[in-house]
Subunit: 415 residues, 2 copies
């Protein structure tokens, strides 16, 4: 993405070659239009660069509308559905010169039932989800970057499982017009790439050209090390890696302080789940009334849970999230970012489930920016750490993510 | 809507008769399917009632997706566009037994350029907008209730101009899946009917069956009378009517206190406008890139304003809105609702503009529930008052709206 000498066509050809070799095993894509992409790449090579992503191929999670490619939301209800318009984010990518290579496989409505995608590090393991195809395609070198979404942990977890950089921006910062709604208080467009620099470029295109890395920050960060209420559920190797990273950052000059948040903060974890299921039961009402037989049992069960909450339950959950947001903002005044697990461990074996979002869902509810960085590995599978920043200070978080990566040379198990 | 003795077919026939007489002059509808509605009404009469809106015809603003009727978002870009799914709110209405009579005319993308709809009280005047057709159709007796939307003042203002009850619920309470996004921090589904009781019924269907009127409230309300920062811009007759209503409520036992809010609160008015244009420029990016020639000059100009804001402008506006929200919540602790103008006066003459949202837009930004009640008139045109309630206390506000109407017998200039 950063290499100016490369032609768009040769970059795309590398992607196509990789797809030819690997897609039959990885199954990252729900739709590919290589011919159209090649034509666009040749055109890009013949015209002067007029956008930040001139000639760069990108994959789009298949819950994000595209006017010239089918968008099935991971559901047989919408098999071959052709939206009439591009979503905001696809229109913005195209305006910046990007080439949409195809649609990446997603869990059904970005919710529960995973697609057939496999982890490029070991096809017996899940790539995570719901942005399964985006994570696997980027990790496998099939495309340099992809759009994802996150309502629970759907960007950070698969990015961590696949050993790439995944970023969930501040809630609302990237417009969600044309993204199939799951839970509109939570739905966030996520970004996946192989470097923090590429994430920065995508943010400039998708948020605002004003965005730039902050200057005049301290040379080293103040880090809040947060083990989450679910520390005991996290695999030993991931615990050890995170503790190792905390010590390593300290050695590099960071001020690292372990923090514990209140029980009231911890309530934001179950509150996120309640809000997600309550809102999803409504966002997907049409589908659940007209085509329940075309939805997975898992999804029908989740929507039924969502329908059965009382209004008071929902309002209490929203209040719990507000309270946790205030507590977090208060705590973060003393720190530059939180260092915390990105996932409960390495990607689990099997592709019928895509892992738990226990260390992600509260951050989504709180609307703060999160990034996962591929810093570790165990059993031949990647381990990511997660940095969490302050509301609307996305570029500061990316600055510190760069700082972490530039101070880290550990083995990250690249493919 | 409340009359159990009426058959659905006879109710619908009355609507059809009214439409036959008046639609050529009023132009409230962008799409009508009377034949389908009649079939559905006969079916409803033959089946036992199984929903709160069994057999009730309803109009749907044409920015809200319907799976069996075209949805053009008020734009020639989408002329005859047929969505693949019902929006959440249409699915919920159908589930409750409602009959969708047709789509009502809307300003282009619910934003600026009005449709050809005329005010039923005087066709030389605007019905207001952007929910022009919904307001005119309900006011004219073409349909007992209609869905609207509000991003600035698009529900309350046209309802007030047309002399009906208009309700904008708490932000987020009615799911917006399948509503064409304009500005997702603001977009709210609104309701229009001829009585507060009908609004309550719609709320139960669209929010949650749990919703019910609160009990154990005081017999009389504590009213904050708020003239807004734009009092000098409000027509004399509307000023006089609002002051008259304030005195009247006092005579009825209410404790009425005039309040003034801070300059920092007043910043929420321009902040709403900035957020709306900033977000709309992104929500409608695809259309403005691919079909600017099919959009009105007015819309192109607004979107261009939105594109030119800096990110810092946008973030500052969001912060101003947050601060105003906190101030309002604090102020409202001492009151049951705010009494304030619903519009800057009677509906202006001419249909090329639909009036100003100067007394609406801040409430939309703050996310609080608002209702307009048709309590006055001047020059043969209706005047509405507006009551503003507390976040997530929509049914309390409806309770007090009922109280106001039951204590008011002034002439309201019915059609």
């Amino acid at each position: 993405m950063q290499q100016q000498s490369l032609t768009s066509e040769s970059l795309l050809q590398r992607c196509v070659q990789r797809i030819d070799q690997r897609e039959k095993d990885i199954r990252a894509w729900s739709h590919l239009d290589i011919k159209k992409a090649l034509t666009a790449a040749r055109q890009a090579d013949e015209t002067p660069s007029d956008g930040l992503l001139h000639g760069i191929p990108i994959g789009i999670k298949d819950v994000i509308d595209t006017a010239d490619m089918p968008t099935s939301y991971g559901s047989t209800i919408y098999a071959q559905h052709q939206p009439i318009a591009d979503s905001y984010c696809v229109a913005a990518l195209k305006q910046a010169g990007a080439i949409i290579l195809g649609k990446t496989a997603t869990a059904e409505f970005a919710h529960t039932q995973p697609p057939l995608t496999r982890n490029p590090h070991n096809p017996e393991h899940t790539p995570g989800g719901s942005s399964s195809g985006s994570a696997a395609a980027v990790a496998d070198g099939m495309v340099p970057a992809a759009l994802a979404t996150q309502t629970g942990g759907s960007t950070i977890r698969p990015a961590a499982y696949c050993g790439i950089v995944g970023f969930k921006p501040t809630f609302g910062l990237i417009n969600t017009a044309g993204v199939k709604p799951v839970a509109q208080s939570l739905d966030t467009v996520g970004l996946m790439a192989r470097s923090v620099a590429d994430i920065e470029l995508l943010m400039q295109v998708l948020v605002h050209p004003d965005l730039c890395l902050p200057t005049r920050l301290a040379a080293v960060p103040r880090v809040a090390f947060f083990k989450t209420p679910y520390w005991e559920k996290i695999q030993k190797s991931s615990q050890q890696h995170l503790e190792h990273m905390a010590r390593h950052l300290e050695i590099c000059g960071a001020q690292v302080t372990e923090i514990v948040l209140s029980d009231s903060f911890d309530a934001s974890y179950p509150a996120q789940r309640l809000v997600m299921n309550y809102e999803a039961a409504r966002s997907l009402l049409y589908e659940s009334v007209t085509s329940p037989q075309l939805m997975s049992n898992a999804l029908n069960a989740q929507l039924s849970i969502g329908r059965n909450y009382s209004l008071a339950d929902y309002q209490a959950a929203l209040n719990q999230i507000s309270a946790a947001r205030a507590e977090l903002a208060n705590t973060l005044e003393q720190y530059d970012f939180i260092l915390t697990p990105a996932a409960p461990g390495i990607a689990p074996k099997g592709i019928n489930a895509s892992g738990e979002s226990i260390v992600n869902r509260n951050w989504t509810a709180l609307g703060v920016p999160c990034i996962t960085l591929p810093t570790g590995s165990a059993e031949g599978m990647p381990i990511g750490i997660q940095l969490v920043g302050k509301h609307h200070q996305d570029m500061r978080l990316l600055h510190w993510a760069r700082w972490v990566m530039s101070n880290w040379s550990g083995k990250t198990n690249p493919i």
